[in-house]
Amino acid sequence: MSKTNNDNSSKSLMWKLLRKHISPSQLVGFSLASLIGLTIVILAVQFHQDVRPIFNDEESFIKKDYLIITRAVSTAGTLLGGSNEFTPDAIADIEAQPWCRKVGKFSSNDYSLFATLSVGGIGGRSMGTMLFFESIPTEFIDVADSDWKFDPAKPEVPVIMSRDYLSLYNFGFAASQGLPQISEGIVSKVPLQFTMRGNGYNETLKGRIVGFSNRLNTIVVPQDFMKWSNERYGSGIDRNPSRLIVEVNSPGDVKMQRYLDDHGYQVAGDKMQQGKAQYFLNLVVTIVIIIGIIISLLSFFVLMLSIYLLLQKNTKKLQDLLLLGYSPSQVAKTYINMVAAINVAVLILAVIIMLVARSCYMPMLKALGTSGGTIVIALVVAVIIMALITTGNIIAIKRKINSLWIQAS
């Protein structure tokens, strides 16, 4: 008789022997509970993955949140000439707050600035406007560009513009006036000239738009240019900044909101609201995941209870098999295979349900302009949870069967 035949025959005989007392209703109950728990967890993870890009338009791996704050401009302040600047003490106080990671100061030009835009080369049409510049430390700039520097020996001014300005033109002005829309690439190629006046100088430098920023709602030049130009054309008075860029832990933080309100600071843009929405999304997803995990845990205990009951009822048979020379692991294998089969089936079903549910909500998310996130994370989470549950089951089964090795007298 071959070994394989023997193995198969002992396996099928063991199954015939040990399947007795298996309660289908208990196993169905476990499978359902486990399926519901696992599906909730991975669906929540997947939903979070799919929705996150809507809140997070930055491509960076670790998302950073920035707020641009100003002091509220009051009517009385305007009439009485009150200051809207941040004093060094106020800045130090913001830096000391637990929600604050770092603070950057906006500095602005202290001289008269006129920008000219030439279309059609020399002799072509040109447009001009009074303008302002601001600068912040380079670490706060979200446009990576190697040209982001200024060299007085070869003066050309790189500029980063708010993407909102271009959007405002393209979707607001151009669309209504029947003018052509301009791409970022075209704008970057438009020759600019900046004329700076002050301290007896009247000089014109070439300029170039090197990028568009989602974060900065202004026109930004490199800090070294700002320093150089203010020294050359400015009055030399060192002013306190009137705008600050603050990197924060979480833009929806309630404590931060209270601090800003108490000090009469305002936040530019909708970052705060967006932060709050994301905060609530995270909160809701976390709660749902916790509920899913609790259901999964409960189902785990239902299965454990069911298996313990089964092993208890089959104690005599298991002991007799051990006396025949079957090892505890051979005996345990029958139950381990059963549990593994159930868990794999639950895992596959949960993933299928998750994918079906995802295909139901994705059209709605697509309307919001996102194609969703990766499903890899949800799959990994599903496999890890099932692996943990199965490992727990296997350890419990082995322990129980090992405890039968020595019989009571």
């Binding site: 090795w405 020595i406 007298s409």
Partner: protein, 214 residues
């Protein structure tokens, strides 16, 4: 495995009792491979306990049991599985058959892990013992005597150095007793194995070399 030795052994429940003159308990005893031993006793003197200690599924005793001089307490679970499939063939007094399996399935459950006998050999043994027509009957439907014979066939389905029988013929008539005795001694001889059999009166006729009173 060439010998099984007992040194000063006593079931825990007998601790503190006066010495009853047992030739096994609290003595030094050696069972050697190839020889036949009968342990005769009255009920309640610890026959089945003795078998369960030697077979390693109870350890409520004092003293030392050893296989070839090695204390059996030191055996790992894997080593015990090897003992149970390759060194000691054991027939429990209560037979430990599985009622819902047929006679053949019960035997195959053992034979499939040892691969010791062919199906033909098993059928031949069942024929010899007059239970071949019960081959596919669930064991629960067999009489105690028939069950005992199924259990004996199963016990012999493994390589061994000792055959340990706990009241093997308690439910058999003289004719079947003789057949069983012949079958067991033949198998022992083929393998050069020793036989240790217990009895409360209906001794299996194995021509023992030594009888112990328990």
């Amino acid at each position: 495995m060439n010998n099984i030795t007992l040194h000063n052994t006593l079931p825990a429940v007998f601790a503190g009792r006066p010495d009853t003159g047992s030739e096994i308990w609290l003595r030094d005893v050696t069972f050697e491979k190839g020889k036949r031993y009968l342990i005769s006793a009255e009920s309640g003197t610890g026959k089945s306990s003795l078998c369960s200690y030697i077979y390693g599924y109870r350890n409520d005793y004092s003293g030392t049991f050893a296989f070839d001089g090695r204390n059996i307490n030191q055996l790992s679970v894997d080593e015990w599985c090897r003992v149970r499939t390759h060194h000691i063939a054991y027939l429990a007094q209560d037979m430990r058959l599985f009622g819902e399996l047929t006679a053949m399935e019960n035997i195959m459950l053992k034979n499939s892990i040892t691969g010791h006998k062919t199906r033909q050999e098993i059928v031949a043994m069942m024929e010899q013992l007059g239970i071949v027509e019960k081959i596919d009957s669930p064991v629960s439907k067999l009489s105690i005597g028939q069950q005992q014979r199924v259990a004996i066939v199963r016990t012999l389905c493994q390589p061994c150095d000792f055959i340990l029988l706990d009241e093997p013929v308690s439910h058999l008539d003289n004719v079947n007793n003789a057949i069983v005795a012949q079958m067991v001694t033949d198998e022992a001889q083929r393998q050069g194995a020793g036989i240790i059999s217990t009895s409360v009166g209906n001794n299996v006729k194995i021509n023992e070399v030594k009888e112990f009173k328990l």
